[in-house]
Structure formats: structure tokens, C-alpha cells
Amino acid sequence: MGLRRVVVTGLGVISALGRDRAAFWDALREGRSGIGPIEAVDCSQLRFRNGAEVRGYNPDDYLDPKESGFLDRFAQFSLIAAREAVADAGIEWTPELRESAAVVTGSCVGGQCTQDQGFVDLYLERRPRVHPLTIPRTMANAGASRISLEYGLHGPVYTISTACSSSNHAIGQAFWLVRQGISDLAITGGSEAPFSMGLLKAWEALRVVSPDTCRPFCRDRRGMILGEGAAMLVLETLEAALARGARIYAEVAGFGMSSDAHHITQPSVEGPARAMRMALADGGIAPEAVGYINAHGTGTPANDPTETRAIREVFGKHAERLAVSSTKSMHGHALGAAGGLEAAATVLALHHGVLPPTANFTEPDPECDLDYVPNAARPAQAEYALSNSFAFGGLNAVVAFRRWNGA
């Protein structure tokens, strides 16, 4: 069997920009940031106060109370995003489809809030026991498994944990599973709920979190802002999507991944550049056909100039004509869910012909000298777009999407 073409027919998103896909896109298009004071944790003992939390979330609006007790916040987000994506795609499940369907998700820290609560019970409250569901709530695959239960899916179901690249590694592998003919459909993306005191203290100690907001590529950027949420994509073959008359958001065109083997936290130019080149090569994409890059763009001093140099290295003169934005300026850095949220942003950008901006933009850093679509979204129809994720540990994953133009 030759390689099959793969398209995105469903999207579900829950994030700091709102609890569904429509709210997510409205905020991106308006350049509106979801960053604000953290509510989940008392920040009086932290050096930072702001995060990108899912606001107004009540699990009872989505799950019956007993069910929500079985799931950590991050796994609840997975399920909510998957339900929206599957309904959006209008999937009608058949026994054959269920037999091969895949669920591949990304998560960096899994059920962090559950684990943190267990430690509070044990070490602070001196209680003799922790909650009996601590293990199934904490496991990083809890979301993927719950999605497979929701629809009775029996194909490859697994979770990838590669820090901030988790979702992109997941989406790339789901794409390959469908392209290769192993699965006829995949639900893929990522989820994260990192707002626990233990994890916030760990990020504080690393000294990479901004005390105010996230200003990627700006001269006065002060670091990243943590975010949470989930985004899921429904991938299926082009043939199946056309046969059932499905609405196609975009085609998944290529996937590339690489390892820096350079430093545990410092980014490199060459690793990300190789991942971008491999994504282009995987999809047979000419660099000049790329019109937009959803950057990793964390807003840390180290990432942004390094990513800029990597883009220049891959695209040469064409880098001058590329639009590059970091939507982390709006939905925050959702760690293992980052690639999921950004894939959704990239696919919606291609679908609507509007490029989301880099919000909170002040003045450019001389070392960051590309077109970052500052503050205001731009009507522009890119033919191809890349979504970049580069992780601590030197792991890079890049997904390429193509605008769906009916052929």
C-alpha cells in the first residue's frame, strides 16, 4: 500500500482562551491574551503571579461527579477536547473504524495535581494514606485511555512524554499511523494541568518564568508563562473524508523530529533546523511554499534568538517573507499540550486565511529579526505552515500542515 494522504476533520480545544474551539479562535484572531493572575495556587510565596489557566471550569458541566473523581484535571481536559473534536468531525463509528482507530496524546507531567495532593496529605498533613485513585489519576496515559473507553477504540493507544515537544511527537506519530495504513482514524493532541504548588516551585527554581507576561521575540521579554488545557485533532484519510463529505480543515503534510544531543536545557540552532528540514522533506515541501510558522516562541531569553537563527538557516532568503508568530503569548506555555494547542491554531489559521499574532509585543529584539506578526492578526493565505516544538532535553518535533484548497 502506498502512503495515504491525511487530513484534519475535527478540532477540540479547552484553554485559557476559553473552553471550546470557537472561543480559542476568537481570542487568537483578536490577539487577546488569556494570561492573568493564577487562581489555583496561592502565589504569595512565589516569584511569579501570572499564568494562563482555564477559567470558570467546573467538571460537573462535562462529567458526572463520580466520573470526574476518577480523572485528574489534565485527563478531564483530554476527554473534553476529544469529545468536541469527534463531534466536530461528525464521525460515525463502525466496528471496522473502532478496530484500528488510534489515540496518541502528549503530556509532560500527567496527573501532577493529584500527585501533589498526595504529597500534601502524606508529608504536610501527616495522614497515613493517600487517595486510592492516585495511581490511575496520575498516569500520563489516563487521558488517552479514557478517550479510547469513550468510543470503544481498539487500535494503538499511547501517550508520549517528551516535555514541551510531547504533543508534536504525538501528532506526528498519529499522522504516520494513518498515512501508513495502520489506523484509519486517529485522535491526537495533548493535555496538561500543571498548576500545582510543587510544580510551580520547580519552575520558579529554574528561573525561566516571567514575572509579568509572555512577550516572545521582544527586547524586554522576561520568560515564559505557564499555561494549561488540551487540544485534540481528528485525523483521517483524505479518501475517507471525501467519501463521507466531511469538512476538511487542512492536510497534515509532513513530520520531522530530531535530538540536539547538546545540552539538557540549552537550545541549539542545528537540532531545530534539522527537525524543520525533515518535516519539509517528509512532505516533499519546497521551503518557498511555507508562508507561516507557529513558533515554539517561549519568550525566554535563550529560545527566541536561537529559534530565529534556526528558521534563517532552513529558509535562507525566504525567511524574510515568512510570517512567524508565537501564540504562547495568548494561551501560555502548556508544556505537553503546547503542540496540540499550536497545531489547532495553525490549522485554523490555514482554514480561515488569518495568521494569529504574537500578542504583548513591545519592541523587537535586534537578535530576533523576522516578521513576528506583532499584536494584530493578519489576513493572509499561507499554502503551507509549520508548527514548531522544541523541548528540554534537546528534543525537537515539527509538524507541517497544508491549506485545504479542494484538491
Partner: protein, 84 residues
């Protein structure tokens, strides 16, 4: 077994499993109540909290009904000096 202990065990099951208390009797089996093994560990956790006892794993394996649970809790409470 005291009515008070029976009532407390049934209350814990009702609360953790969100089952109306009237539907639970000492004769109810877990199967009748629709409780699986994960529900069972949740109930044991709540009972340990309620009675301030530790329930050994080997005491839990054969329990299939509310009555067995009440009986087991009664013994553990008595062994711990009746403190509850």
C-alpha cells in the same frame, strides 16, 4: 453489630458512591449496587478515614457485600480498642 456502626458504614458507601442511602442494606451485595473493584478501594479508603483504622489487604479480598464490610469494620474497631 451495633446499629450505629451499620449506619455509619452505609453512610460512607452512600456518600462515596453517590447512591441513595435507602437503597443500601447490610444484605446488599456489591454486584447489586453496581460497584467494581475500584469503587471498593474508594470505599475502603473512606472507611479508614471514618473509623481511623487501617484495613489490611488480606481482610478485603473476600468482601462482596455490605454485611461483610460491616462485620470486618466491627472487628477492626473492636481490636483498636473500640475507639471510633
Amino acid at each position: 453489630m451495633s446499629n450505629d456502626l451499620t449506619d455509619r458504614v452505609i453512610s460512607v458507601i452512600a456518600k462515596t458512591q453517590r447512591i441513595p442511602k435507602e437503597k443500601i442494606t447490610p444484605e446488599s451485595t456489591f454486584e447489586e449496587l453496581g460497584l467494581d473493584s475500584l469503587d471498593s478501594v474508594n470505599i475502603l479508603f473512606a472507611l479508614e478515614e471514618e473509623f481511623q483504622i487501617s484495613i489490611p489487604d488480606e481482610d478485603t479480598r473476600e468482601i462482596r457485600s455490605v454485611g461483610q464490610m460491616i462485620e470486618g469494620i466491627g472487628k477492626l474497631v473492636a481490636a483498636s480498642g473500640g475507639a471510633s
